[in-house]
């Protein structure tokens, strides 16, 4: 396993080496403490799905509260116990559910579950490597993630309740146990969990970067990489540069909580006395948090965009339109994402000049984003679209990316943000552009690479049903929220009944909750299809979608080291679909150029 270089193909002992290991595998080395990137990818996926089920169930519970405020439901008492006396959810529990829902969806599902799964699965397979640069670090990265998930789930059961200060956990609210019950032991566990999570994420990202840079097979120049790999690569760089800042923010918060330091705290009167903190600034925390927080939304989004680029090109049977522009816009988005964090802080009282700078940089991001959207649509133009479930979700992604991206133009404008900041307009915006797009990208990835992961096909008809129900209910949940926001409805409100001016919004909240419940239940179709197909699905052919990239040149049966013989050499980019003069409508990357054929890449 130390032969991890591009030259490993030339190592004649590699084969024997593999064989030896094959016989020693038992349940634990194969499924649990594996160092094989394909299995680690699947571990990320299944753990992410598990967390996702928790996160979505939480959203259904608090949607029930929002539609029928302060009413009694036996199901609430069943799940929440003492936090829902007589079946009525308590305000503290509402905030806890929203907080953990946000944390789980953003970090556990769409960072680890999405990027972790597909970076692991696809980086070695698509660049032509036998495994990640370090299988051990890779396994460690998963185990940190797994531990962090366990701690997060355990935190749900502590006496004083889980963290409830919002997924952004702004101090002083999150720093002082007197401020709310959730800021006690639950918050400590939240911080421990996130620390483990960050360590895992850094180990993973470093590995991805090194692997992409050093282990590409012969002929796989950077400009021949599939866009998935570009997306995972840049995502990993974003993670390495931004997660350490969140780690420092979390550690300082931990110090304030446990050691009595005052990094974020000053002049606080609580519980009838002045607390002994002085000189700190809560706004400092926000700067640190959003320095990660904004890149984080692209850490979530870029892998989904990479996946959909690949899926859309393959199933339109066309080259992705404007490959270089697509790579360029990934790089531009990544760069800009580091200098826009202040758009979350326009009304914290920061210097108005800074607000102007952040408005400027934020609106600039719309340009590369627009380029991407137009390029997707042009890729469809005059294509020969094959409607696999993965393709449907990718088209869904383009739609939500456009819808949600457009409202970003409003929120990024400091003057306009004043009146909709922290309202449901924001909830609508980020769920559509980040939540839905990324979830759709994740589904597209699962449907597309399921045959590669499990050697079987998922059921197509259930895939279609899953897509349509999800697409319709997702817009049904989140589009109406814009109108709530424009009516001035703040987010993170346990109930809107305290303000008669919001009484006429109650119907919309009921409608949204119906959509949310149907949409949540529709995910059961996917879960059933997933597990059914793992064991019972029809056997997959080697290249079910007639795709060009290298992962489809490996055998269906997984083997450690990926290719039984030599690693294939690459002669062309990944997008030679429907090339004039070619016999088939696809030419895999390992096929040498025909005589007189121009490569272009």
């Amino acid at each position: 396993m130390s032969t991890m270089s591009t030259k490993s193909t030339e190592n004649p002992h590699f084969q024997d080496h593999l064989m030896e290991h094959h016989h020693e595998e038992n349940f634990f080395t194969k499924y649990i403490f594996t160092m094989d990137h394909k299995m680690i990818g699947k571990q990320f996926l299944v753990t992410g799905m598990f967390m996702g089920i928790i996160g979505v169930m939480m959203s259904m519970l608090f949607r029930l509260e929002l539609a029928y405020p302060e009413q009694s439901f036996p199901i609430l008492e069943f799940f929440l116990g003492k936090w829902a006396p007589d079946g009525v959810m308590s305000p503290d529990m509402y905030l806890a559910l929203v907080t953990i829902h946000g944390t789980i969806m953003v970090f556990f599902v769409l960072t680890a579950g999405l990027s972790g799964t597909f970076s692991n699965l696809l980086i070695p397979l698509q660049i032509g490597a036998r495994d990640m640069a370090s299988g051990f670090l890779n396994a460690l990265s998963y185990w940190f993630f797994a531990m962090s998930s366990v701690v997060m789930v355990v935190s749900l059961f502590v006496e004083s309740g889980p963290a409830s200060a919002g997924w952004t956990v702004y101090p002083p609210l999150s720093a002082l146990p007197q401020a709310m019950p959730g800021s006690g032991a639950g918050m400590t566990l939240w911080l421990v969990s996130m620390t483990l999570f960050i360590v895992g994420s850094l180990l993973g990202s470093l590995n991805y970067i090194v692997t992409v840079l050093n282990m590409r097979t012969k002929g796989m120049s950077m400009t021949r990489l599939p866009l998935t790999i570009w997306a995972f690569f840049v995502t990993a760089i974003l993670g390495v540069l931004s997660f350490p800042v969140l780690l420092s923010a979390a550690l300082l918060l931990m110090f304030d909580r446990l050691l009595g330091t005052s990094f974020y705290l000053s002049d606080i009167f609580m519980g009838g006395e002045v607390l002994s903190y002085s000189g700190g600034s809560p706004v400092l925390y926000q700067h640190l948090f959003w320095f990660l927080g904004h890149p984080e939304v692209y850490i979530i989004l870029l892998p989904a965009l990479g996946i959909s680029s690949e899926v859309i090109a393959t199933n339109s049977r066309k080259p992705i339109f404007g490959y270089r522009a697509m790579v360029g816009s990934i790089l531009a988005i990544a760069f800009l994402s580091f200098i826009v964090w202040g758009h979350h802080m326009f009304i914290t009282g920061m210097n108005p000049f800074l607000g102007s700078v952040f408005t400027f940089t934020t609106l600039l991001i719309a340009i590369p984003s627009a380029v991407k959207a137009f390029n997707y649509i042009t890729t469809l133009w005059k294509g020969n679209i094959q409607y696999t479930p993965a393709m449907m979700f990718s088209i869904g992604l383009v739609s939500t990316f456009v819808t949600g991206g457009l409202t970003g133009v409003i929120l990024g404008d400091s003057a306009l943000d004043i009146n909709v900041h922290d309202t449901y307009f924001v909830v609508a915006h980020f769920h559509i552009v980040m939540g839905l797009s990324a979830i759709f990208g994740m589904f597209a990835g699962v449907y597309h690479w399921f045959p590669k992961m499990y050697g079987r096909m998922m059921n197509k008809s259930m895939g279609y049903a899953h897509f349509w129900l999800t697409f319709i209910t997702a817009y049904g949940v989140f589009f109406p929220m814009h109108f709530l926001g424009m009516a001035g409805l703040p987010r993170r409100y346990y109930s809107n009944t305290a303000f008669p001016m919001f009484d006429n919004l109650a119907d919309i909240n009921v409608l949204i909750t119906y959509f949310a419940i149907i949409g949540g239940i529709a995910q059961l179709i996917f879960i059933f299809n997933f597990f059914y197909s793992i064991w019972r699905g029809p056997k997959a052919p080697q290249n079910p979608w007639k795709a060009n990239s290298l992962e489809w040149t490996t055998p269906v049966e997984h083997l450690h080291g990926n290719w039984p013989g030599e690693i294939p050499m690459v002669h062309r980019w990944a997008y030679d679909y429907s090339k004039p003069g070619a016999e088939e409508d696809f030419i895999p990357q390992n096929v040498p150029l025909a005589e007189g054929e121009e490569s272009g890449h």
Partner: protein, 341 residues
């Protein structure tokens, strides 16, 4: 017992589903069909559905605008508010134009180019002119929005004053608001959490000469047409003072003082006559009477808009905008710090 039977039911349902799947797969295998390969018929059906549902979505957005457009906040009641709304309308216009062009194109292409046997896609990998075009056009539109936006932002954040604004402190704590007027000297006396004691809930330093004429109250009255400079403090966690009807908002940060200035332009009595507001009140009262709740009369409100704990959802205060005379009369009735502390 209930729980057990639910679990048993779920398990049975899953087993049934598995069997149904099995049978349908076997039967389609017998018929020689490949159940999981995307057929031409699938492409046709799903492509048509794309057009149908996609256009359905676009139309539903139009319907939402028609049906729910009326729910938006009424006309702004502050001077700068109309500038914000102007910029808002322009931005909304631009993004809606893009939305209503791009989404239909997307779904139309999804339908039009659905896979058919025997057709081959067009190999079209890039086109510099086209790509330049859709880089430059958004860039131009954004340039307009950026320049206009920054203009509004700076007039709002750094207002030029012909007359001195009235200084008012808004003091936040879990879960209520307190107001401190600066009195005849228009200067707030020094205050800090270290001076909080008994009735002195906002911690005014009574030794400071400027504090003697300060007025601490639980009511927020504003004179119409006068610039008001709000200074915000919080004693515990971050709160956010949100004045939706005035298009104003600013966080209240413990350990710091933040501020926001605006000029109210419409009195409470006048806004109650606004036709949108009237319709809103009627609508709400129809709902409230049906539920047997008190009728409601419109008031401007101040809301807390930063998560601050259990009762965050109910941290509010009415705002009364009145004529200058009414305002002065009200303020004169209030007791000053010198009188109360």
């Amino acid at each position: 017992m209930n729980t057990v039977s639910i679990i048993v039911l779920v398990v049975l349902a899953i087993l049934t589903l598995v069997q149904v799947m099995r049978i349908s797969e076997v039967s389609s295998e017998i018929q020689g069909g490949k159940d999981n390969e995307v057929s031409e018929k699938d492409n046709d059906t799903q492509g048509r559905l794309m057009l149908l549902v996609g256009m359905g979505f676009v139309i539903s957005v139009v319907v939402m605008y028609v049906v729910w457009g009326r729910l938006s906040l009424p006309e702004p009641s502050s001077e700068h508010g109309s500038e914000i709304d102007g910029l808002w309308n322009l931005s909304m216009l631009i993004i809606n134009i893009v939305f209503f062009i791009v989404q239909p194109i997307l779904f139309y292409f999804a339908y039009k180019y659905r896979g058919k046997k025997g057709t081959k896609a067009v190999h079209f990998a890039h086109n510099n002119k086209l790509e330049l075009f859709w880089t430059v056009v958004p860039a131009l539109a954004l340039a307009v929005l950026i320049i206009w936006g920054l203009n509004v932002w700076s007039t709002l954040m750094m207002p030029e004053n012909d007359e001195e604004p009235i200084v008012i402190e808004l003091y936040a704590q879990q879960f209520n608001w307190t107001v401190r007027y600066s009195g005849s000297d228009n200067a707030l006396g020094f205050a800090s959490v270290y001076d909080i004691e008994g009735a002195n809930i906002v911690g005014v330093d009574t030794q400071d000469a400027a504090s003697a004429d300060d007025v601490v109250t639980k009511e927020l009255h504003l004179p119409v047409g006068k610039p008001v400079l709000f200074q915000f403090r919080s004693q515990d966690v971050i709160h956010s003072a949100y004045f939706p009807h005035f298009r104003a908002q600013m966080n209240c940060v413990p350990g710091a003082t933040t501020n926001f200035q605006f000029t109210p332009t419409i009195t409470t009595a006048e806004i109650r006559q606004n036709k949108d507001v009237k319709r809103h009140v009627e609508e709400v009262n129809a709902i409230r009477t049906a539920k047997g709740e008190d009728v409601w009369d419109f008031n401007y409100v101040l809301l807390c808009n930063k998560i601050c704990g259990a009762a965050h959802y109910n941290m509010q205060m009415d705002i009364i905008v009145e004529t200058e005379d009414e305002y002065n009369a009200w303020l004169n009735e209030q007791k000053t710090v010198a009188e109360t502390l």
